[in-house]
Amino acid sequence: MSADASDLSLVRRVQRGDKGAFDALVLKYQHKLVKLVMRYVRNPAEAEDIAQEAFIKAYRALPQFRGDSAFYTWLYRIAINTAKNAVVSRDRSPVEYDLDRNNNDESYDMQGRMKDSETPEGLVLTDEIRSTVNAAIDALPEDLRTAIVLRELEGLSYEEIAAAMDCPVGTVRSRIFRAREAIDRRLREVFEGGLGRAEELG
């Protein structure tokens, strides 16, 4: 199994003019990229803007991507540079004093979350997605839960998980797939049903 083969196959498609393949790359890495950028800027909306800019820069630079490094390593480097530049240019611009920030950091964080594009409904939906997924994970059989958590949380390969769980690699693949299927089934209902579905499902 070659590492990064999946990303590389999508990258090659983008390089051949298939923009739809770039959608898949954005969907896969958007949360990780926003999380990474939030080390530089605290505001989630600003972090999303920077991540968006990083994705667009990456798209434009893809003709130069040779695949010498993993795609996500290359993408993260672009995102970090974009975030650093954004911080520098923001620091050069006039400072907006926020009196609440000094008095109550939690209050500032909440304001940051609410800034710009974020709406109360959006925050609720994020929380609902989170609670739905967590509830679905808790409901999984032990072997499925262990497999998906080792994969997503610890970042282990299938081979490493197979060694840890003392089972064949094919079984690991099947367990992770079934875990995802079970979680996705409930998550899909949240997206299709809108707000409040998690409570009904719970």
Partner: protein, 209 residues
């Protein structure tokens, strides 16, 4: 939807699918909105498990990026030919480069040969005084009035005439021994072939060494 396909999608998301299968599935993923939506939810599941706090899980980031990229030109024009042919081109590119270099060198050599005499060929130019024109210079003058200076001009040795040589011998006691020897040796080597007659009319011969 096909369960095997979904299983492959899950493995591809984890980079655990064979490259050949990845190629096929990537093509389908880029076009199939159902698969793309599922793919996106797999990413959300991972974000929740990693407890990525502060990240909006329903952020329309992909849609925003997509909207911007709609106005962008496709990358195919820039990369497709290189990408398609890259592995096959690689082995003969050095050979092609060498062939081009050899062609340029050959053309240069042929061109130089038409422009200048061959190196090593005797260059003999006769410079005559007015009224004493040799047959060679007469022919050259008939062809062209212009005179082209050779690219690599050889060092010329001035050979004195017989009268001058006699003068030098007669006054050798007053001349520098080294200069005298050089002058005499030059005079000796400039002698005409055995039996030949040196044209007395020629005042000076320039001989390419």
């Amino acid at each position: 939807m096909n369960e095997e396909l979904d299983s492959q999608l899950s493995a591809m998301f984890d980079d655990e699918l064979l490259p050949a299968e990845c190629e096929l599935l990537a093509r389908r993923l880029s076009r199939d909105e159902y698969l793309k939506a599922r793919w996106g939810r797999y990413a959300i599941i991972g974000a929740v498990i990693r407890a990525e706090r502060g990240v909006r899980l329903n952020a329309p980031l992909a849609g925003r990026v997509n909207a911007v990229l709609l106005a962008e030109p496709a990358l195919a024009a820039q990369t497709a030919p290189r990408d398609r042919n890259h592995p096959r081109l690689r082995w003969w590119q050095p050979l092609a480069g060498a062939a081009v270099a050899a062609s340029v060198a050959t053309v240069s050599i042929l061109w130089l040969r038409t422009q200048a005499p061959l190196a090593g060929a005797p260059l003999v130019t006769q410079v005559t005084t007015p009224g004493h024109t040799t047959s060679a210079t007469a022919a050259a003058s008939a062809q062209s009035d212009s005179y082209t200076v050779p690219r690599s001009k050889p060092a010329a040795v001035v050979v004195p005439s017989t009268e001058l040589a006699n003068y030098v011998v007669a006054h050798s006691m007053f001349s520098n021994p080294v200069a005298r020897r050089n002058l005499l040796s030059a005079f000796m080597t400039s002698e005409s072939p055995p039996g030949g007659t040196q044209e007395p009319q020629s005042d000076v011969k320039a001989i390419a060494q």
